[in-house]
């Protein structure tokens, strides 16, 4: 079943057509890769899917619900969380506090006004911190963390809400190889154990191809092709699209 469906979405900024009738589906329980040259509209697609920007036309569905005009918090409450290309955490909150921001909407409406540091909440956040390996820094201000740690924290922030789907925007960008390995492991583990669906925008081809069950390629605001990593890799249209950028990267 398709968890996320994007249908004929267009989005323009002034004269630049970031999305030009983009249609795409992401299957539930799969790790989906989304690649494409710079400026092909990947981040814009994320923005449109998660409610940060409104599509000019077309529609977006999450598990059958139309979210084309939804706000980010509504999309999130449907179980779709995302990270950003440039990490966005709450620098003046501690690591633990960062985590609990996302667990706001658990429980009834009054739960919002309950203590965030209740014992059960803390058990949950410790689980998550242990999972990404940040427990040691729990009481640290998030702004003091290194970039890679912040990436992990951003990941953990979404994870704590047990989303159905996680949209990761360049999780590997600026992260050292060993940490990247760690991150890949976590994604895999989460996917296997909790059945979380992933959509990963990434330029690191090795990372994408090694991790993803399915890869979609974007070019000039459209979906060029989609399929198993192997098929995509050998698709001539993809090679064509990447021509002039870095062919070896793709073909490797």
């Amino acid at each position: 079943m398709n968890l996320l469906e994007v249908d004929e979405v267009t989005k323009a900024y002034g004269g630049i057509q970031a999305l030009a009738g983009c249609s795409m589906t992401f299957e539930e329980g799969k790790i989906n890769g989304l690649i494409g040259p710079n400026g092909s509209g990947k981040t814009t697609l994320f923005n449109v899917m998660t409610g940060y920007e409104r599509a000019d036309s077309g529609s977006v569905h999450v598990a059958g619900t139309d979210v084309t005009a939804a706000s980010p918090d509504q999309v999130f409450s449907l179980g779709v969380g995302r990270t950003f290309q440039l990490t966005r955490i709450f620098p003046r909150l501690t690591v633990v506090e960062n985590l609990h921001v996302a667990s706001q909407r658990d429980g009834g409406w009054m739960s919002e006004f309950s203590r965030w540091s209740s014992p059960s909440e803390k058990v949950r956040s410790k689980e998550v911190l242990d999972f990404v390996g940040l427990t040691r820094l729990a009481a640290e201000k998030a702004g003091n963390l290194s970039y890679g740690q912040q990436k992990l924290l951003e990941f953990a922030c979404i994870m704590i809400a047990r989303p159905k789907a996680m949209l990761l925007d360049e999780p590997a960008g600026g992260v050292n190889p060993s940490l990247l390995l760690h991150l890949g492991g976590r994604i895999k583990a989460l996917n296997e154990e909790e059945g979380t669906t992933f959509v990963i925008v990434e330029h690191d081809m090795e990372f994408v191809m090694g991790l993803c069950d399915k890869v979609s390629v974007m070019h000039q605001g459209r979906c060029l092709c989609a399929g198993e990593p192997e098929t995509v890799r050998s698709d001539p249209a993809v090679l064509e699209a990447y021509l002039g950028t870095d062919m070896r990267e793709v073909a490797r």
Binding site: Y52, V123, H182, E193
Partner: protein
């Protein structure tokens, strides 16, 4: 509960106690000592007008309480959400006018029954804050600052314009309770103190709730907070209305205490700057910050008038003092002191650890990593 393969400890072993321990800040004073400090502070404040019973001193005390309530209230919205309002005088004004006009229209007998109207000032202010907040909170931080000033001027001008209702420039009177000078200030002082305690409890409740965390998240990155499921407009509005309520109470207190309500002093353009200065000096977005700021600066300001008021020297002194504090303690006195204390404690602990080289220390180490964190240890 889901079973996750945690980095080190198996999930079965996780117990609340352990989680609690993992997150504890070794330098954090215990709950009991914090509670004691607060109780002691308020006991002191409660005893103040009895010890220093001179009416001039208690009069400063009453105005300080008004600022205290307003500063704590203001901080609930502006401190936590990062949306700095310099137009909360709108609610100060509505509190004043609501109380003054209600007393007039209901023909309340001068005396204790007038004091019973004060909470209505807060309620009216909160009610006004809902539509005003819905309009103002559509814009982001920089614009918001200016928009709040504009809103304040609009209401000030309206108070002038609708003279039939508000008394226009002549203002509105509240007949003072017929108490003698020696005791007159005390009821106002204690109502103010009570309201301040209530405000503080609300502020504390918000700070420790998930909701409060959401506000702090909005302060740091509103869009991101939205993406993590926080209904930002609703969250901001609730805080805005709560803070308007307390500022309205301060206004109601003012109306009954001073007895004269004028448009330009009810909707006073410099009121919020005074409050903002107090909160910033104390520590924006912290629980004790506004308390400290108001308790120190409000009396100082009145005292300066009396002491240096013969010329505008007091303006210069106040201005320079404020600049110095902002530049040397940019986060405010409370966070700066606490940071210094913390780093001092840390260095002390480090020295102790160097003396007795044991692994572990006060914190359970779950990740065998250096001080910089797992960037280096991520490859486990």
């Amino acid at each position: 509960m889901t079973t996750l393969h945690a980095g080190t400890a198996p999930a079965e072993l996780l117990r609340p106690v352990e989680a609690e321990r993992a997150f504890r800040d070794p330098f954090e004073p215990s709950k009991r000592s914090r509670a004691t400090a607060w109780v002691a502070l308020f006991a002191l404040l409660a005893a103040f007008p009895i010890v220093f019973s001179n009416p001039a001193v208690t009069s400063i005390g009453v105005f300080t309480m008004m600022f205290l309530v307003a500063a704590i209230g203001w901080n609930i919205f502006s401190g936590y959400s990062g949306y700095v309002s310099i137009g909360h005088a709108v609610y100060y004004g509505f509190g004043q006018y609501a109380v003054a006009l209600l007393i007039e229209h209901w023909h309340v007998t001068p005396g204790a029954s007038e004091l019973a109207i004060i909470p209505l000032g807060g309620i009216v202010a909160a009610a006004v804050a809902v539509p005003v907040g819905l309009i103002l909170l559509r814009v982001r931080k920089h614009t918001f600052i200016v928009l709040t000033i504009a809103a304040m001027f609009i209401f000030q001008l309206l108070a002038f314009n609708f003279a039939g209702f508000t008394g226009g420039s002549a203002g509105t009177n509240v007949v003072s309770p017929p108490w003698t000078g020696t005791v007159f200030n005390l009821p106002f002082y204690y109502i103010g103190l009570g309201a301040a305690i209530l405000a503080l409890l609300v502020s504390w409740g918000i700070r420790r709730s998930k909701y409060g965390l959401g506000l702090l998240a909005i302060r740091d990155d509103e869009d991101r907070a939205k993406g993590l499921g926080i209904r930002v407009t609703r969250a901001k509005l609730i805080a805005y209305v709560a803070s308007a309520f307390f500022v309205g109470i301060a206004g109601g207190l003012y109306a009954t205490f001073v007895g004269a309500v004028y448009p330009q002093f009810a909707f006073d353009p410099t009121y919020d700057l005074a409050i903002a200065v107090m909160v910033f000096v104390g520590g924006l977005g912290t629980l004790p910050g506004p308390v400290l700021g108001a308790l120190v600066l409000a009396p100082i300001q009145q005292y300066f008038y009396i002491q240096f008021g013969a010329s505008t020297l007091y303006l210069i002194i106040y201005g320079i003092l404020f600049i110095v504090i902002l530049l040397t303690l940019p986060a405010g006195v409370v966070p700066s002191i606490s940071d210094r204390y913390r780093s001092w404690m840390a260095s002390r602990q480090r020295r102790r650890e160097e003396a007795t080289p044991t692994v572990g220390g006060a914190m359970p180490v779950t990740v065998p990593a250096g001080p910089v964190g797992i960037d280096d240890g991520g490859a486990r």
